[in-house]
């Protein structure tokens, strides 16, 4: 929590991206393709954020990047599964 408040300027853009993603997903509820693009773009932004954030903090390791990619990939798989079954 202490780290979170100390680096709030790092987390605000990330939260902003996620909120825009949710808003866009809701606004374009009739357009499956655009919703898919929103999810992929948000996941890519999340991985990019992780890369930049850890690079700034000098703790960028392959395992860390793989962790972000794994979570992003899982998120995309889950959303696509639900989206294309809806």
């Amino acid at each position: 929590m202490h780290k979170l408040t100390r680096h709030i300027q790092h987390y605000l853009p990330l939260i902003g991206v996620f909120l825009v993603g949710i808003l866009g997903f809701r606004m374009f509820a009739y357009d499956r393709v655009f919703q898919s693009v929103i999810v992929v773009a948000t996941a890519a932004s999340y991985v990019a954020w992780g890369f930049v954030h850890h690079h700034i903090h000098d703790d960028l390791h392959l395992s860390v990047i793989l962790e972000y990619i794994a979570i992003a990939f899982l998120g995309v798989v889950i959303v696509f599964s639900v989206l294309f079954r809806a």
Binding site: Y30, Y68, I78, V82
Partner: protein, 325 residues
């Protein structure tokens, strides 16, 4: 028993055996989880290609309700209500049945049959024509709301060019899944020379497919341009026999195989919710334990992961069944 407990701890609790990070949160496990979810989707897909019938959406959609809701939206927008048309209803029914028979979900059939041919085949000679399609909605208002949210479909619903409407709700097997299709057709007969919009506005517009106008549109005589009748806002609620435009395939389905009560959407959503919630809980517990024990480790940021999965959770909750075209 002891071994099971140790395995559970290994997957859910940060300790020496998992390098002080719950095994479930390790990258290889997450990739494995993704692969399992993909295999699960393939399994559901294989059911629809097998002899097993899977439940799609047992929707109870009343065509008259769709017409009433459409007219309600038009009246709210200051447009006259559309009148029920029996030939348009017949055309909508024919289109829905054609989609089921030919197993497609599109405005134009794979064999090249366009929507306008259904108008003509039912004896409806049109000046203007439009088509909206919907599938798998659980109630009429969700379908109408989805059309209203899409600019091109909304344009069809709120167009002053159209005078009549025909709706058919067709149930059948589309790509191996029980499906409820809603076909909404709009039209103005060729003999109708009045129009509630100036000619300039009634010209074909370069928008999405559903608003395509037939060649007949171009034959509007210049005298029509001057006719801009006062807009009536009285909704027209016609007497329409429900059974005439609600089509089902239930009798055909009986002999196709046994039914498995499985809704692909609901099942996928439930599994997805369970996976995301489990990950969030394990993630919170893992972060709490590591923080309390002051364990130093190389890892991604908990808050970033938590926020991302929170977004995924919100999206799973937001997604609604139903698709429009």
């Amino acid at each position: 028993m002891m071994t099971t407990a140790l395995t559970v701890l290994h997957y859910f609790y940060p300790q020496y055996s998992n390098n002080h990070k719950a095994k479930l949160l390790h990258s290889p496990t997450l990739f494995l989880l993704s692969a399992l979810l993909l295999i699960f989707q393939l399994f559901i897909q294989s059911l629809s290609h097998s002899n097993i019938k899977i439940l799609g959406y047992a929707a109870n959609i009343s065509p008259s309700e769709v017409i009433n809701l459409t007219n309600q939206k038009r009246v709210e927008a200051g447009l006259p209500a559309l009148e029920y048309s029996a030939p348009l209803t017949q055309a909508a029914k024919a289109k829905g049945e054609h989609m089921i028979a030919q197993d497609y979900w599109a405005h134009v059939a794979p064999d090249g049959t366009d929507p306008w041919s259904f108008f003509l085949n039912s004896g409806y000679k049109y000046r203007y024509a439009g088509e909206n399609l919907a599938r798998d909605f659980t109630n009429p208002s969700s379908a109408v709301d989805a059309w209203m949210a899409s600019p091109s479909h909304r344009e069809n619903m709120l167009s002053g060019k159209y005078k009549e409407i025909g709706i058919a709700v067709v149930e059948g097997d589309l790509a191996g899944t029980d499906t409820t299709l809603i076909v909404q057709l709009f039209g103005t007969q060729l003999s109708d020379t009045s129009t509630s919009v100036p000619l300039a506005l009634a010209q074909p517009q370069a928008t999405a497919a559903p608003t395509k106008l037939p060649i007949a549109t171009l034959s509007v005589t210049p005298t029509v341009a001057a006719l801009v009748p006062a807009i009536e806002v009285t909704p027209v609620i016609s007497e329409f026999p429900e059974e005439n435009f609600k089509v089902g395939e239930s009798s055909q389905n009986i002999n196709k195989g046994f039914s498995l009560l499985l809704s692909p959407f609901d099942t996928t959503r439930s599994v997805s919710l369970a996976v995301v919630l489990l990950l969030l809980v394990v993630m919170v517990a893992d972060a709490f334990i590591v923080y309390r024990k002051k364990i130093p480790r190389v890892s991604g940021r908990f808050f970033a992961h938590f926020a991302f999965l929170g977004m995924i959770l919100a999206i799973i909750i937001i997604v609604k069944a139903g698709e429009i075209l």
